[in-house]
């Protein structure tokens, strides 16, 4: 593939990032006085980026396929010996679709936030953070090397952290922000080690250099890189075993959940793996690990989504599950990459719509998130209801809504790999039908179970217009991308595409999937719409109880990550204070022949420091002498 320098309209690509970044800088540094006009500036910068994105898309479509990878070196940042790090962007078909998703969904969510955050005293800060997030996310997908990608990766992490904890007065929000941060650091360790390993192996971290010489590296190295990247992806995309933060992240304002924790940031892991496709194509074990992680997460997410009464957390469970599908698709290799991205796009739109719909419901219900206190809202919130239904039909995969096309392709690809993986994917699709039906039934159907002071009403136009646009997207985007946009051919040059034969005709798989979805939905309908929903949650069976506790994800994370770190640090301090000193005093006493008196004496710190120095010196000398003998 030839890499073209940026010319003409493409030389403007840095503006995509620069605009929201400038917006963030202005909003965060001008202080309170920008509260009045700040939010509009925030909307403006992101919309301008969206417009540039669309122009670039049109320009790119006019180019021949092999000339669609364009790089721009904005600034040569660090250059040491043979190593250099540039602030350089790469625009190709893969980053193009991400740019459009981020800027367009981002703009809609900015507009929606005008209404949602209208009464917040710190709204300029909120828009500043949102702008910062968009800039960082664009940097992530436009970087031409892993290091710059890492900068964007950390940037979205910071922005996400700031936004989850935006309502710091809520203790739970602050805790959730901290948790997201810590768990993400674990993933980041993976990414930084992977980058380091690439640097060591290939002497460069730019995509073109790494992928160009990937086949020359040993399979062991590639497997290690692949597994480390998977760790990173799992952290950012809330995949098993680093999934626990996403549910807590719902403490943030709802537009944040829609933008960051449904449409864009959580898909960064999928992007990372799709971008690194050359590595996974040459490292089977790593690819298999991706599939396993994905399958576990698909089910965990679905089960959690089925048990939560908090509408946003139920949606978060569903997000985990859907991202699991995307991860599954990227794990499948060239048969799945394009469908992973396809599903990522449709999911980004319909899940954003669902989240904003949930936000609209909460807005009308005094910010109550408990679905057991909803019910029968379809008549009072008509627009919200209709758009939510579009998202609902899209996510469970009913034709012709957009989720159908993308999810169906993934399931089909899974069957191409094997009946077990395919079967699991179909089963999970059935559970999706169940929990989404449960959500819709509890929220919009059944009897009123409102709090006494709740006066549900439709949200203002500034909130419903984005809902309508996203609802239309949920309905038509899938068809548009597949039939008119020809997504397979579009992405194929970057991620590769091939198809393998399956034992049954394609229509059979569609039929099976639909059957499962419909059965799941009917069960959901019977349980939650036809019967009375108790206001207090029943105790439930063991699975429900476990699912309400996020399938003990916290406990696992705590045991695996948080606790060992704390223990290690504590043990070291203890070791330093007790063992070293004790040992030091003890041996000092023996050396001096003053054991009795010394042991009873309070430990003298200067002397133990001195002994540590002597000990170090003796060790060094012994080592040097022993090496010579």
């Amino acid at each position: 593939m030839t890499v073209m320098p940026a010319e003409g309209l493409f030389s403007l690509m840095w503006l995509l990032i620069a605009l929201p970044l400038a917006g963030a800088a202005i909003l965060l540094f001008t202080g309170r006085r920008s509260n009045a006009w700040g939010p509009y500036l925030g909307v403006l910068t992101v919309s301008a980026s969206a417009v540039i994105g669309v122009l670039l898309l049109i320009e790119m479509m006019g180019l021949p396929t092999e000339e669609r990878t364009i790089t721009q070196v904005a600034y040569q940042w660090v250059f040491i010996g043979n190593f250099s790090v540039d602030l350089a962007f790469q625009l190709d078909q893969l980053s193009m679709v991400f740019i459009l998703l981020i800027t367009i969904v981002g703009s809609l969510i900015h507009i929606y936030s005008l209404g949602y955050m209208a009464h917040d005293p710190d709204k300029r800060k909120f828009f500043g953070y949102l702008n910062l997030f968009v800039a960082a996310m664009l940097l992530l997908v436009m970087a031409n090397n892993y290091l710059l990608l890492y900068v964007g990766w950390e940037g979205v992490g910071v922005a996400s952290y700031l936004l989850i904890g935006f309502w710091q007065q809520k203790r739970s929000a602050a805790a959730a922000a901290k948790k997201a941060f810590i768990i993400n650091r674990v993933g980041d360790v993976g990414l930084s080690l992977a980058i380091m390993l690439m640097f060591v192996t290939f002497g460069s971290v730019t995509f073109s250099d790494v992928f160009g010489s990937a086949t020359q590296a040993s399979e062991g190295t590639l497997t290690a890189i692949g597994l480390l990247l998977l760790l990173a992806a799992a952290g950012k995309s809330a995949q098993f075993p680093l999934q626990a933060w996403l549910l807590d992240a719902m403490e943030g304002p709802t537009p944040v959940s829609a933008l960051i924790h449904a449409a864009t940031m959580v898909t960064a892991g999928v992007y990372l793996i799709a971008r690194s496709n050359v590595i996974y194509n040459n490292a089977e074990i790593a690819a298999m690990a991706v599939i396993i992680v994905a399958l576990i997460t698909i089910f965990m997410g679905a089960i959690i989504g089925s048990a939560k009464d908090d509408i946003k957390k139920a949606l978060a469970g569903s997000t985990m599950s859907q991202i699991g599908y995307m991860m599954l698709a990227v794990g499948l290799g060239p048969i799945g990459y394009v469908f992973a991205i396809f599903h990522l796009l449709t999911h980004g739109v319909f899940k954003a719509g669902l989240f904003l719909g949930a936000g609209s419901v909460m807005h009308g219900m005094n910010d109550n998130v408990n679905m057991r206190r909803y019910g029968a809202l379809r008549s009072v919130m008509v627009i919200t209801f209709i758009t939510f239904m579009a998202g609902y039909l899209a996510i469970i995969g009913i034709p012709p809504f957009s989720g159908f096309w993308s999810k169906d392709e993934i399931i089909h690809a899974a069957f191409e790999r094997g009946w077990f993986i395919g079967g699991a994917a179909v089963l999970a699709a059935g559970i999706t039908g169940f929990y989404m039906t449960r959500m819709v039934a509890m929220t919009f159907f059944g009897k009123k179970r409102w709090e006494t002071d709740a006066h549900p009403h439709e949200s203002p136009a500034v909130m419903t217009i984005p809902l309508i646009i996203l609802g239309l997207g949920s309905t038509f985007l899938g068809m548009a991308l597949l039939f008119w946009g020809d997504i397979e051919a579009w992405l194929e040059p970057v991620v590769g595409y091939e198809s393998e034969p399956t034992p049954l005709p394609t229509s059979a798989y569609i039929g099976i999937t639909l059957a499962f979805v419909i059965v799941g939905s009917i069960i959901g309908w019977i349980t939650y719409a036809r019967r009375e929903v108790p206001i207090e949650a029943p105790q439930g069976n063991w699975l429900t109880r476990a699912a309400r506790k996020d399938l003990y994800g916290d406990a696992v994370n705590h045991a695996l990550v948080v606790a060992p770190t704390n223990y290690a640090a504590r043990a070291l301090v203890w070791f330093d204070a007790r063992i070293v000193d004790g040992f030091v005093n003890g041996s000092a006493a023996i050396v001096g022949g003053l054991s009795g008196r010394m042991r009873r004496t309070q430990s003298g710190f200067i002397r133990s420091y001195a002994l540590s120095m002597v000990g170090g010196a003796v060790l060094v000398l012994l080592a040097l002498v022993l090496v010579r003998i």
Partner: protein, 511 residues
């Protein structure tokens, strides 16, 4: 009678050192002969002018590469860069020493170090408004020692420079105005352990002299090159020299003085020594290893490998649970020494320039961080306990943002100088094949990021409470230091290339 031949000394080349030396001597005379009322301004002006003057002369001298003073002094690229670094960092710390508006009682130093803590004398001195001025004399001598340390080209000069640098520091550490018991304790610990480490240094020097028959670093190298086989004596001597130097940089297992001294010392002095001693000691270490001991590179690389890994890991891990900001910074200093050692082990021109860049950027951040710490106060003086920093970022956003920049830089986050310096030492390490060392460093830097970021979290994501300290309004002095260091941290992070180019050209030690 034999004719007398004066030794050839290039006075121009060593002019920066001479300027500081003369200023230090004048400072002694000032202390002796001038009345108390004028001492402080005279001392201050003397210090600032001499530091700035030395810096100017240094810039004029930038192309000089020579060995002079009978082979005792080497003025080369690294020497010039490191001298410049020391002078700039000393100047910025001198502003902190001069600061008088932060504390309601005056500056940070006891009016009379000889008066007993809490005694009638002490109250009397305070009440009369006396100020400590000896601190400036000590300061100048310490700077003199550091400058000499990085140019020293024989073991004797190096040892004398080491002591001229260290002895004033021992005293300065014990001169805090508040919490004098802690301060005195820190001075005692620093002194006893420092003297102990000096003994190792000089004994090692003796053994090396025994092997090589010379104390001049290039001649030691020649002796190593011409002797085949038995090198045990010089290896032991080299290891003992290293013990002395590793003590000064606070590397594990010679690190235990660091937290106590950082915490006990008056904050301006912590800033001064935290930044400049590292520069001087690493400069001397590199000259010693590269010029004299390149023949036994394998031996010292092994030592430094182990010390580097231990420092990074242990420093980072212990810092995780620290609750005092100054103490946490001390453990961080231990870890940072480990990172710098990665570059020292690389032992290549790119390694040398990476280490120098690291020292510059790290020194600036250290001075800046401690300047910020000196501004955060409650009724008992500086509030260094982390719990008192809760919500500080909301109470004063500018200070919070500045501190956040420093913490991010220490954590090595891109767009701050901390990232560039870590990248350069790691790149140098990889280029020389120290892959596993670099991997350990990456792991340690990730652990380290936790406690740096914790400070930011405490400042910005905790609600202020009644214990939250307030931020004292500084005079122009501290403001200059903070502004200069934060600007430099960001500029070096965003446009590092000019500095990298400058250092690449200066990365050769002459023999």
């Amino acid at each position: 009678m034999n004719t007398f031949t004066a030794p050839e000394i290039d006075y121009v080349a060593i002019a920066p050192i001479l300027i500081v030396a003369i200023a230090a001597l004048l400072s002694v005379l000032t202390e002796t002969f001038l009345p108390r009322s004028v001492r402080r301004p005279v001392q201050m002006i003397l210090t600032l002018i001499s530091l700035i003057g030395a810096l100017i002369v240094l810039v004029i001298n930038r192309d000089i590469r020579t060995i002079t003073g009978g082979g005792a002094v080497a003025i080369d690229g690294p020497a010039l860069v490191l001298m410049g670094t020391i002078l700039i960092l000393a100047l910025l710390s001198a502003f902190l020493v001069a600061e008088r508006s932060l504390d309601s009682l005056g500056d940070s130093f006891a009016p009379s170090a000889a008066a007993l803590p809490g005694s009638v004398d002490e109250r009397e001195f305070s009440a009369r408004g006396y100020f400590q001025t000896e601190i400036w004399t000590l300061f100048l001598f310490a700077v003199l020692g550091m400058l000499a340390f990085v140019v020293a080209n024989d073991l004797l000069f190096m040892f004398v420079a080491l002591e001229v640098m260290s002895l004033p520091l021992y005293l300065m550490v014990g001169m805090a105005r508040r919490r004098r018991l802690l301060s005195q304790e820190a001075a005692l610990k620093y002194f006893v352990l420092g003297a102990f480490s000096s003994a190792f240094f000089i004994f090692g020097a003796g053994l090396v002299y025994g092997f090589a028959g010379s104390i001049s670093l290039p001649e030691i190298n020649d002796a190593l090159a011409s002797t085949a086989g038995e090198t045990l004596l010089i290896v032991i001597g080299m290891a003992m020299l290293l013990v002395g130097l590793l003590f000064k940089v606070g590397a594990v297992p010679f690190h235990q003085w660091t937290p106590d001294v950082y915490q006990g010392a008056p904050t301006p002095i912590t800033a001064f020594m935290g930044a400049t001693v590292k520069v001087a000691a690493f400069g001397a270490m590199m000259r010693l290893l590269y010029v004299a001991f390149s023949g036994i590179q394998w031996d010292w690389e092994i030592i430094l490998w182990a010390v580097s890994i231990l420092s990074m890991i242990i420093g980072s891990l212990i810092a995780l649970t620290q609750s005092d900001v100054k103490r946490m910074l001390a453990y961080s200093a231990i870890a940072q020494s480990g990172f710098i050692l990665v570059g020292v082990v690389a032992a290549s021109p790119s390694g040398i320039s990476a280490v120098m860049f690291y020292l510059i950027a790290y020194g600036l951040v250290t001075v800046g961080t401690l300047a910020v710490i000196s501004m955060v106060r409650d009724s008992t003086g500086e509030a260094t306990h982390l719990s008192k920093w809760a919500g500080l970022g909301k109470k004063s956003p500018v200070l919070g943002a500045v501190m956040a920049v420093f913490m991010l830089s220490l954590a090595g986050i891109p767009l701050t100088s901390g990232f560039v310096i870590k990248f350069s030492v790691f790149a140098a390490g990889i280029a020389e094949g120290d892959t596993w060392l670099v991997i350990a460093a990456v792991v340690a830097s990730i652990i380290a990021a936790f406690f740096y970021v914790r400070v930011i979290v405490v400042m910005f994501f905790s609600a202020p409470n009644e214990n939250t300290a307030s931020v004292a309004v500084p005079s122009i002095f501290t403001t200059i230091t903070v502004a200069a260091t934060v600007t430099a941290t960001l500029v070096l992070g965003i446009i590092p290339q000019p500095m990298i180019d400058l250092l690449t050209n200066a990365g050769i030690f002459i023999r």
